[in-house]
């Protein structure tokens, strides 16, 4: 391709001139990202009349900005009230919420924003520079390889369950079984649906997420005055800008961590159908495996927060790659962007880079500019957003219940889904009170069906030969890496003990 520096700099200048559409999109994205049940995808659908009326370039810029900021918005309630706004932020509360309880909500938000922004910006630039090459990933990661990637995600169950392995595994496997509710992907046999047609298409994720995290949390927090611990309350006494700067500094000093995890997100994002949830689970698991201090994860550890947040923003850049290069959307939001482009008569695919490069590269420059503008608009909000944690639980619990129940209704508009959220709320409450990890259940619910899908697809393609899962060289390399990443913590632990004995 003959694109030189002047082409890209012109593109950036041009995109900056759309600041008037990007900034409102950022704020809208933060709001819809933060409410479970709402997402960039369904907001774009709602705003379709508006987007379609815009010039395609501006419309696309608007959608991209909304998409990028909604991803970041989903992390806000995950950190502050232990409720991930979307499944992509499901790994964020693991370390984000403990920080909030310690009164470090502002700092955690600043870290998460910094990790999201810099991870997103970095991967966007990488994607922009390596588009032709990156788009090839989808040609190599097929069902067989995705099975192994799923295992990376699922092995997080064991990682989370470190404190009480047996209970953690029971929670995770229970989640997997719940995830298998619904018809099988090959012959559409209904399974474990209790006779409800609404469960044929598997357990809907948002009601499960709302129930396990939000409703159960609301029932649990009423016994405390606020979500903060006593120490946390003291720490919240003097809110200033210092916590924001400290958060940024701490996250920035882990730049290597952000780089690495956002790249994991980018690669997973490029594969059609994979998504932010898998990426953030895989990132968290990898981060912990190679950490020098794995025991700190889950207690409010910085790396445990920035790993999933930088990864899920890496996915955001990744999903655009197959959309623009081969015309295959990497996720729901990208699919809607495709509809808008088609409406304007734009055919995506390799030719787009020749026929209208401003539309082909536009989404990436728009995303980069969005991240830059977020530094000015979103980052300063951390200080004010964190105040929400001092609100008394007397008010907080009912608000959480009513607004997240709405959220569980929205994606499918079935009242059934509100009942389902309540059932998951009760399961989640019992799990919380008896120290079964709700995140382990949710990982099972999210990844179980995905893994089964890839597995059955591979099995059907090989006509029932189980050895198919070891049939690809990329897949086999991934298997080896998986075994290493599972064995490494035990090895390190063993070595540490040995060293300890020796000294």
């Amino acid at each position: 391709m003959e694109y030189d520096l002047s082409f890209f700099s012109e593109m950036f200048v041009r995109t900056f001139s759309f600041w008037w559409v990007i900034i409102p999109a950022i704020f809208l994205g933060l709001v819809v990202g933060a409410i479970p049940g709402f997402s960039a995808a369904n907001t774009i659908i709602i705003l379709l009349p508006l987007t379609l009326a815009m010039d395609p370039e501006i419309g696309l810029t608007f959608m991209v900005a909304l998409y990028a900021s909604s991803r970041m918005g989903a992390g806000i309630p995950a950190i502050l009230v232990n409720i991930p706004g979307t499944a992509g932020a499901a790994a964020t509360p693991l370390d984000g919420y403990p920080m909030t309880k310690q009164g470090r909500g502002q700092q955690a938000l600043a870290m998460s924003f910094f990790a999201s922004i810099s991870g997103g910006l970095f991967t966007t630039v990488i994607a922009l520079l390596s588009l032709p090459w990156l788009s090839q990933i989808a040609y190599y990661l097929h069902s067989v390889e995705m099975i192994v990637i799923m295992f990376f995600g699922i092995s997080l169950i064991a990682t989370i369950a470190a404190k009480d392995t047996l209970k953690g595994l029971i929670a995770g496997f229970f989640g997997l079984m719940i995830g298998f509710i619904g018809t099988d992907v090959v012959y559409e046999t209904p399974r474990g649906t209790f006779g409800f047609l609404e469960l044929y298409d598997k357990v809907p994720l948002i009601p499960a997420l709302v129930g396990l995290f939000a409703i159960s949390e609301a029932f649990a927090i009423i016994e405390r005055q606020s979500i903060l611990t006593e120490r946390g309350k003291a720490a919240m006494q003097n809110p200033g800008w210092s916590a924001t700067f400290e958060g940024i500094r701490m996250a920035a000093s882990r730049w290597w961590h952000i780089t690495w995890n956002s790249l994991i997100g980018l690669v997973i994002g490029v594969v059609p159908g994979a998504g932010a949830a898998i990426a953030s689970f895989v990132a968290y698991q990898q981060s912990k495996t190679y950490s020098k201090t794995p025991e700190l994860y889950g207690t409010g550890h910085i790396e445990g927060l920035i790993a999933p947040e930088s990864a899920n923003n890496g996915v955001t850049s990744g999903t655009l790659v197959p959309l623009l290069v081969i015309g295959i959307p990497g996720g729901a939001t990208a699919a809607i962007m495709l509809v808008v482009l088609q409406y304007h008569g734009v055919t995506v695919g390799p030719d787009l880079f020749l026929t209208s490069p401003e539309l082909a590269f536009g989404p990436f420059t728009a995303m980069a500019v969005t991240y830059v503008l977020m530094i000015l608009t979103a980052l300063p909000l951390a200080r004010y957003m964190s105040k929400i944690t001092v609100i008394s639980t007397i008010y907080m619990a009912p608000i959480i219940i009513s607004f997240t129940l709405v959220g569980s209704f929205v994606p499918r508009a079935y009242l059934f889904d509100m009942n389902l959220a309540l059932v998951f709320g009760v399961i989640g409450y019992v799990a919380r009170k008896t120290d079964y990890h709700v995140a382990a259940i949710l990982i099972g619910v999210i990844l179980g069906p995905l893994m089964e899908t890839y597995f059955l697809r591979a099995m059907k393609m090989s006509q029932g030969d189980i050895m198919v899962i070891f049939s690809s060289s990329i897949g086999n390399t991934l298997w080896v890496l998986l075994v290493i990443s599972l064995a490494l913590p035990y090895y390190m632990d063993h070595r540490r003990k040995k060293l300890g004995d020796g000294s």
């Binding site: 709402f38 907001t43 709602i46 047996l166 209970k167 595994l169 029971i170 929670a171 496997f173 229970f174 997997l176 079984m177 719940i178 298998f180 018809t183 099988d184 992907v185 090959v186 012959y187 046999t189 399974r191 474990g192 649906t193 409703i215 609301a218 029932f219 649990a220 009423i222 016994e223 611990t229 639980t393 007397i394 008010y395 619990a397 009912p398 608000i399 219940i401 009513s402 607004f403 129940l405 709405v406 209704f409 929205v410 508009a413 009242l415 509100m418 009942n419 709320g425 009760v426 399961i427 019992v430 799990a431 009170k433 008896t434 120290d435 079964y436 179980g448 893994m451 059955l456 099995m459």
Partner: protein, 170 residues
């Protein structure tokens, strides 16, 4: 979650409540297996693998629980779940209100139901204090929710008298 435990500082395990999740898991797994007995292999393979492991895990946990009870480190009670006991009535009240919310929202619509739920749940938790603040806050939030969810985002939430009236007026 762990805060309460740390505060208590005891080693007592309430085995009864610890067993709820495993037993629920087993019952569900058995039910699930029952639904796929006659299904094609594609519907069975993943569930049989995962379900069998789950059953083994639960059996192991059961053995561990028996040991805990025998050695006197715990008892077959449900203390984990209901402590602190003073909050049991409030929690049950909140649960009942949530069930009522889901039950009446189809007929009363989002705005009115949300107002009633917020007001009653908050009054329940505050033990009737700050009545006027709570009522105005609930009204404000449910109206805000109406504007955000129904007017702005056009969700197809059930319309009740309030929503219908608004539609007629505007």
């Amino acid at each position: 979650m762990t805060d309460d435990k740390e505060a208590e500082g005891s080693v007592h395990t309430s085995v009864g409540s610890q067993l709820i999740i495993p037993i629920a898991a087993i019952l569900f797994t058995i039910y699930y297996f029952y639904t796929i007995i006659d299904a094609p292999w594609t519907a069975q393979v993943a569930a049989f693998i995962v379900g069998s492991i789950l059953i083994i895990l639960v059996v192991l946990f059961g053995l561990k629980s028996v040991k805990i009870i025998r050695t006197g480190q715990g008892a077959l009670d449900f203390d984990d779940l209901i402590t602190p006991r003073s909050f049991v009535p409030k929690r049950l009240g909140l649960l009942s209100l949530t069930i009522v919310y889901i039950f009446i929202v189809p007929s009363l619509g989002f705005t009115i139901t949300t107002f009633l739920f917020l007001a009653m749940a908050t009054l329940l938790l505050s033990e009737g204090k700050n009545m006027s603040l709570i009522l105005s806050l609930s009204a404000g939030l449910s109206l805000g929710g109406y504007l955000l969810f129904i007017v702005a985002f056009k969700t197809r939430f059930p319309a009740g008298p309030f929503e219908t009236l608004m539609k007629v007026l505007f």
